[in-house]
Symmetry: C2
Amino acid sequence: MTQPAFFVEDQAVIEAALERLLPSETTPPPTIHQAMRYSVFAGGKRIRPILCLEAARLFSSERDGAATAGCALEFIHTYSLIHDDLPALDNDDLRRGKPTCHKKFGVAMAILAGDGLLTLAFETLARVNVDAERRVRIITEIATAAGTVSGMVGGQVADIEAEGKTVDAAGLEYIHRSKTAALIRASIVAGSLAGGASGEDVERLRRFGEAIGWAFQVVDDILDVEESSAALGKTAGKDQAQSKATYPALFGIEKSRAFARELAARADRELDCYGERAARLRAIAEYLIVRRT
Amino acid sequence: MTQPAFFVEDQAVIEAALERLLPSETTPPPTIHQAMRYSVFAGGKRIRPILCLEAARLFSSERDGAATAGCALEFIHTYSLIHDDLPALDNDDLRRGKPTCHKKFGVAMAILAGDGLLTLAFETLARVNVDAERRVRIITEIATAAGTVSGMVGGQVADIEAEGKTVDAAGLEYIHRSKTAALIRASIVAGSLAGGASGEDVERLRRFGEAIGWAFQVVDDILDVEESSAALGKTAGKDQAQSKATYPALFGIEKSRAFARELAARADRELDCYGERAARLRAIAEYLIVRRT
């Protein structure tokens, strides 16, 4: 399945905002800004910023706040890829078909580029163009989703520690929901807050985001088994090689696929009350489940 | 010179707040929370939180907001030490007389513990008990001071790139002001904001913080030449061994000492208008210049 047509429009908004928010390649010290830009502009699909933009669109035609928040989410996503790829972690040489940040700039610079992007994310969030109360809620939401207790770093640690061990369904659920689903959920919640959503709408979108975020990771695990490195733009089959805890390893491919579909249906139901207005969010959810890369 | 007597009182406030804000050692996944706590509780003097508390005290008797912001500053300071000590960067085995985080927990966990602390810092700042407008200003101030353009990460990059090269006074000024002074300045500014200071007071305190932050790094460079590893609790003489850009290397010890004293005097003048109320801030400035560790 190719990406929905409106992705191109959203991606253009995000690319322009990323270009504006990232220090230029000549800003001193140049090397770190080159490394940050290299990884941010390495060809990501901008799923999280698009989710942020489209969640905001449900409630407002104003895109500026959601675009800025979306860039911060992309900075956090990119920092996590840079650090995950490091020799001490996944030790990956290839990301989106290009040398990883540390292969190109060295390990020290890759560590610092990740640190710089994470810091810039919060500097960026602090200037999202919504009232200060909402800005603080967006920051809390995203920081928690990126953190160690129920967020991305916690999921990454649990994932590393699960390597080669027997992990039950509850352990796997913690890994998936923290490592991937949390930041995807936060993208949706941040977008709805930037768009001015009410409390009830925010909670509905949160459940939608949680379901598609979880489904996204299940599909990622399936793709790692089924697709080639060339198609993925990263080393395929690494999960099995590293004895990672995955849905396919625990339940098999067919059950994993059924579970992803069930999560997608769950997500879809949360959007019922928005009717046609939620067509784009539905299209993203559909795309995330049936994608091949 | 021993530390000012009131440090003990402030340190107790900060230790209690750190204990409350850090996830417990048994919070899943336990390893990362153990690593984060290991480094945060490794015996730091809490200079940045104390500066934050004492800047707030000039304007308010309420300590809660400044204590919380102070903890976030300590998380950022600790993350920077963990990442700086990594094999790919300074490759240090010893910090405050104890094994560094990666020696104790491994490189992967040290990278992630640093990431976790940086993220937790912003989660913590988002809940500082002041109005949302001030919270956002505190976040902006600290994120900028920790960032790549004129903040801590930028200074660290410039420092690494200067190794073994000829650095002029302007290059050295950038390194010192970004690597160390920025976060110390932000500690003072955050404290004044948490204490409810007006715009003019915040700017005065900003200049005070800039001067003592810069002096702090000059003194650090002097101590690296003069003191033993045992006294410092870290490897001494590393600057020269690594051909680092330092004030003593560029100007000699005596001129460096005179410059630190000049900066201290500059800082002191900014406090004139506060009279006796600023006695504690003056005592901290004095302590930072004449300390031996």
